[in-house]
């Protein structure tokens, strides 16, 4: 890509005080990611891996412990006051739950109008025009404008929430599981809206999700996160065809098939256990407590990120082998389970 990234996150770290005295929750630990204008980028991982905290830190809902968040080259962590507020507008967050992110007492029109006021649109005529435009952009009929948000379905509410975040003409949307709460038959409608916004408005979108199939289809690139760290990054094609970190391999293999002829004959691997506590992360490679390929050295030092192709990196000692299809976390496990 020849363009400059619209969003660049460098060595970001977010820690919370733990309930255990004197300890910290290492929710996001030394994460670097980039977003280019008009692209959808996926961020996947199990719950508790730090995806939401990363997204929330980027938009300023959490405070970074260290690291930088650059929007168009300007470091937001050094700004304050009005300058920070202005920059932040370009970054908007879309929440998972379309039920709690809107005010029940407002009508759809009022909800969007409020966002336009916050965005600094003074003239009522201009706000009226923009409200119509935004409703149209998110695919809601103008008749919906006078209805209360509580009367809407989940999919409609999520569209209103998206319309509100578009009110400020953002450059970047951080979408945190934006369709997880929606029914399957509605999900496609909202996903197609994201595809359209990206094409028509050039908004870049960091798409946080645990549904890997959804991400594959929408995103050009994907980051895989585990226990506060990015463990693999690549173009969707590379990552889904040649997952090269044991965690990505196992995550992909966990997603169920819809065809019972395939699913019922599946013997193979199950991911062992669950994500360990980020208060006491394992030494060395953080995945080692669940990794079927782990060797003694994995406990000693964090494996460096290995470049597998120009657009593909993975942080595992065996990444090169795995990329070539030589060693597989999946085969390994079947053997050890037998």
């Amino acid at each position: 890509m020849t363009q400059a990234p619209v969003l660049k996150v460098e060595n970001l770290q977010t820690r919370f005080k733990s309930v255990q005295r004197g300890k910290y929750v290492h929710a996001v630990d030394d994460v670097s990611i980039e977003l280019y204008p008009g692209e959808i980028v996926g961020l996947v991982g199990e719950s508790g891996c730090g995806k939401s905290t990363l997204g929330r830190t980027i938009v300023g809902l959490e405070k970074a412990t260290s690291g930088r968040v650059l929007l168009d080259g300007v470091d937001l962590t050094t700004l304050s006051g009005a300058a920070l507020r202005d920059s932040r507008r370009a970054l908007q967050y879309v929440f998972q739950d379309p039920y709690s992110s809107l005010n029940d007492r407002q009508t759809v029109g009022e909800a969007i109008d409020e966002a336009l006021v916050i965005a600094g649109t003074r003239s009522p005529e201009e706000r009226d025009r923009r409200t119509k435009e935004l409703l149209d952009q998110v695919g809601l009929a103008s008749a919906v404008r006078d209805r209360h948000t509580r009367e809407l379905s989940g999919g409609q509410r999520q569209r209103v929430a998206i319309a509100r975040s578009l009110a400020v003409n953002p450059r970047v949307l951080i979408c945190d599981e934006p369709v997880s709460a929606l029914d399957l038959s509605i999900r496609a409608q909202v996903m197609n809206l994201f595809l359209r916004l990206q094409k028509d408005l050039g908004v870049a979108c960091l798409f946080i999700a645990h549904d890997l199939a959804l991400v594959r289809q929408a995103a050009s690139r994907v980051y895989v996160m585990y226990l506060g760290k990015i463990v693999e990054h690549g173009s969707s094609r590379e990552l889904y065809d040649h997952p090269s970190h044991p965690y990505s391999q196992m995550l992909l293999a966990s997603a169920p098939e819809v065809d019972p002829r395939i699913e019922k004959n599946r013997r193979g691997p199950l991911m062992i256990g669950e994500v360990p506590s980020p208060t006491n992360p394992p030494s060395g490679c953080r995945f080692r407590t669940r990794c079927p390929l782990a060797v003694d050295d994995c406990a000693k030092a964090m494996p460096p990120s290995r470049v597998l192709s120009p657009e593909h990196t993975a942080a595992c000692t065996f990444a090169a082998d795995l990329h070539r299809g030589k060693r597989s976390a999946l085969l390994q496990q079947e053997v050890s389970a037998a």
């Binding site: 199990e46 399957l184 038959s185 594959r216 966990s254 169920p256 098939e257 199950l270 256990g273």
Partner: protein, 331 residues
């Protein structure tokens, strides 16, 4: 005995009345489950899955008046019209439950071991001592390592997956013949979901139970269930063996649902497939086919009367769509 279904539901209708509203979340649904069999009930949020399974067992929140009609037979015994005291005896004993909200099933201030043992005491008339032993057995059965230590812990000390294993252990404590699992994996990651599904399947086989698995996720159905009922707006749209319904769905709603699942061959950046529009609310009665406003095969007659669930071109599969069913007759 073996060809009599363990659970036989026929033409079940449930009306719910609250101070403010009246809804009919279950409208004339029939299905059955045999011993050792797993039936999946699939449908979107609000389609009536939970009410359909829990209302006949007297499990509705207070403040709602529940009106039931039709028939629900458990081992040949009619549940509709049975006094509450009789139904109460079945709950947790002949029928085990896993509720949709995982936390509601566990008491946050009591140790896990006590909670499991209590259920065993209550339903199996065990002495406290024997119940403790049974609790240990159950915790082992649900695949928890270091079981003795786990029994002394409190629910909040456990991860989501471990908690769900405990919920399953509690549901199994009364040695039920039927297990009703309402979205048992929805709150879990795919990685943990796979573990829990495998566990459920495994205990179902080992105990030769019948299981009703409520879910909105087709992937959950494929691996676990023998038969499936697809619900849309309080009614059954299609039912039959999963190997048939998931592989060649017939009803336009089932087809739409399965078609909406992204596939590996879908090009990156391509449009997502889905159904247009939104499901109806269940407040007002729906005269014709509930899918009509969203259905690409709809003809004017679809709005006139409710399509009956009848045999399709495959006699094992029932479909509530005359357009699809007549297509078979014409062919």
């Amino acid at each position: 005995m073996h060809d009599q279904p363990l659970l036989d539901v026929s033409n079940l209708t449930v009306n719910l009345l609250t101070a403010k509203s009246a809804v009919c979340p279950v409208d004339g649904v029939s299905y059955s489950v045999r011993q050792g069999e797993c039936l999946a009930i699939v449908g979107e949020s609000g389609s009536g899955k939970t009410v359909m399974n829990f209302a006949p067992l007297g499990l509705m929140p207070t403040g709602v008046t529940t009106m039931l009609s039709g028939s629900v037979k458990l081992e040949g015994r009619e549940l509709i019209g049975l006094p509450e005291t009789e139904i109460q005896k079945l709950r947790g004993k002949s029928v085990g439950f896993i509720f949709q909200d995982p936390m509601s099933a566990l008491n946050p201030v009591r140790r896990i071991g006590r909670q499991i043992a209590e259920m065993a005491e209550l339903h199996l008339n065990l002495t406290p001592r024997a119940a403790e032993a049974r609790a240990l057995e159950l915790v082992k059965l649900v695949g928890i390592s270091d079981p003795a230590a786990r029994l002394r812990q409190y629910p909040h000390e456990l991860s989501g997956g471990l908690r769900q294993r405990i919920v399953i252990a509690i549901a199994l404590a009364g040695e039920p013949k039927l297990l009703i699992a309402d979205e048992p994996t929805t709150a879990l990651d795919v990685t943990v979901q796979a573990q829990i599904l495998r566990l459920l399947k495994d205990v179902q086989r080992r105990l030769n139970m019948a299981m009703v698995l409520i879910t909105h996720d087709m992937g959950v159905v494929a691996g676990a269930a023998d038969n499936i009922v697809v619900m849309y707006a309080a009614r059954a749209a299609e039912c039959g063996p999963v190997d048939k319904v998931l592989v060649s769905p017939r009803h336009p709603y089932t087809r739409g649902l399965i078609n909406a699942i992204p596939r590996r061959e879908d090009p990156i950046g391509s449009e997502f497939r889905g159904l247009p529009g939104i499901p109806p609310t269940l407040g007002a009665p729906i005269r014709g086919c509930a899918l009509a406003p969203r259905c690409e095969l709809a003809v004017p007659a679809c709005g006139n009367s409710r399509p009956p669930l009848v045999r399709s071109d495959d006699s094992a599969v029932l479909v509530a769509c005359p357009v699809v069913n007549q297509g078979k007759a014409a062919a």
